[in-house]
Amino acid sequence: MATNTSAHTEVPGGHAKGPFPPFDPNVFAPQLIWLALTFGLLYLLMSRIALPRIENILEARRARIAADVDDAASMQGKAQAAGAAYEKTLADAKASAQATAQSTRDKLAADSAAKRKTLEDQLNAKLADAERSIAGTKAQAMSHVTEIATTAAADIVAHLTGKPADTAKIAAAIAATKA
């Protein structure tokens, strides 16, 4: 960067007929000097202060976000574990409630079945007694039937013939009819 190239041949301010302003060599030196000053200072400020600071800010933010994401992940894990534990407790409670209900139901069913059995047995016994007494009565009645028939037949024969009937023949005839 040559800074001493400007030859002061022209009077400053005579720009109306001077060279095209950006190509005026008279203004090269002051522009280069001030450019070097300002750009140099800008470079120092940016490289020493601004850019490291922003780098730190971005790094801190990245670290913070990563930490927060980790925290959130562990929280989520805990929440999922708690959810699973809750589900398990609920399932256990449901199972035990069902077991209790089932056993109660079984007990009640067994009780009622036993009672019914006893009742049926008693009824059956009574039925059997009744049948037995009916059968006894019937047998008794049937044994009287022969006697009645014999008497009736003897009376009929005596009435028709006018002489006493032969009971032995009548008994044989009744026995033959019954057989």
């Binding site: 960067m1 002061h8 203004v27 522009q31 001030w34 450019l35 922003i54």
Partner: protein, 252 residues
């Protein structure tokens, strides 16, 4: 803007001393250009140092802007030169901020555009090229000269290729500086000429009816110049990265 004679679009580029200073026979006057260089420096300091003073985890507006500038230039440098190019990050960042703020502040009416001076842009370009040459020679010695000798070229073609490479290398500071300077110069001249049209039409009787047309033109051009101001700063920064990449990895 239009004072005295209506059309003098060159007037805005005149460098006039505000305070005469001479150091050892060299003119070091504090000029309007110097004033705006100082303003650019103050603006950059305000944004990048005062704006980040709180160092908050959740940034405010100014700190967001400062961080955005940092991330933008950092990703440009990293993307162009790789991680080892980050040692030039402060240089590229300073260049980007200086050029961007010069361009943007220069768009405000009645201001002076630091980057519309070829000597300023050339000095910045020379700084880049000198950095490339010095760093390249120190770190790679003569290997740095392989930059001019691409591998895998037929020996018969080599002299021409080397000549072309040398010419392209020498033209880099010229194209880098002239691109920025010419963009700023042309943009400001166009704005000035359109502004002068408005003034001329207003003072031309019935023609005053069409004076809003160039005014609309100025509005559109100002938006365009804002784009150019940013784009040229970005182009300057990314070309700096590309040239520095040659110093970091010569011989492709």
């Amino acid at each position: 803007m239009a004072t005295g004679n209506a059309i003098d679009p060159i007037h805005q580029f005149i460098v006039a001393p505000l305070a005469q200073i001479r150091i050892g026979g060299i003119d070091a006057s504090f000029t309007n250009a110097s004033l705006f260089m100082v303003i650019v420096l103050l603006a950059a300091t305000f944004l990048m140092i005062i704006g980040t003073a709180q160092k908050s985890i959740v940034p405010g507006r100014l700190q967001s802007a400062a961080e955005m500038a940092y991330e933008f230039v950092a990703s440009t440098v990293r993307g162009t030169t790789g991680t080892e190019g980050m040692k030039f990050f402060p240089l590229v960042f300073s260049l980007f901020m200086f050029v961007l703020l010069s361009n943007l502040i220069g768009l405000i009416p009645y201001t002076f555009t630091v980057t519309s001076q070829i000597v300023v842009t050339f000095a910045l370009a020379a700084l880049v090229i000198l950095t490339v040459i010095i760093y390249g020679l120190i770190n790679h010695g003569t290997h740095f000269l392989h930059l001019f000798v691409p591998s895998g070229v037929a020996p018969a073609l080599l002299p021409f290729i080397v000549l072309i490479e040398v010419i392209s290398f020498v033209s880099r500071p010229i194209s880098l500086s002239v691109r920025l300077f010419a963009n700023m110069l042309a943009g400001h001249i166009t704005l000035k000429v359109f502004g002068a049209f408005v003034a001329l039409l207003l003072s031309a009787g019935g023609w005053a009816a069409i004076s809003p047309l160039p005014l609309v033109g100025i509005v559109a051009l100002t938006a365009f110049e804002l784009l150019v101001a940013f784009l040229q700063a970005y182009v300057f920064a990314i070309l700096t990265c590309v040239y520095l990449n040659d110093a970091l990895h010569p011989g492709h």
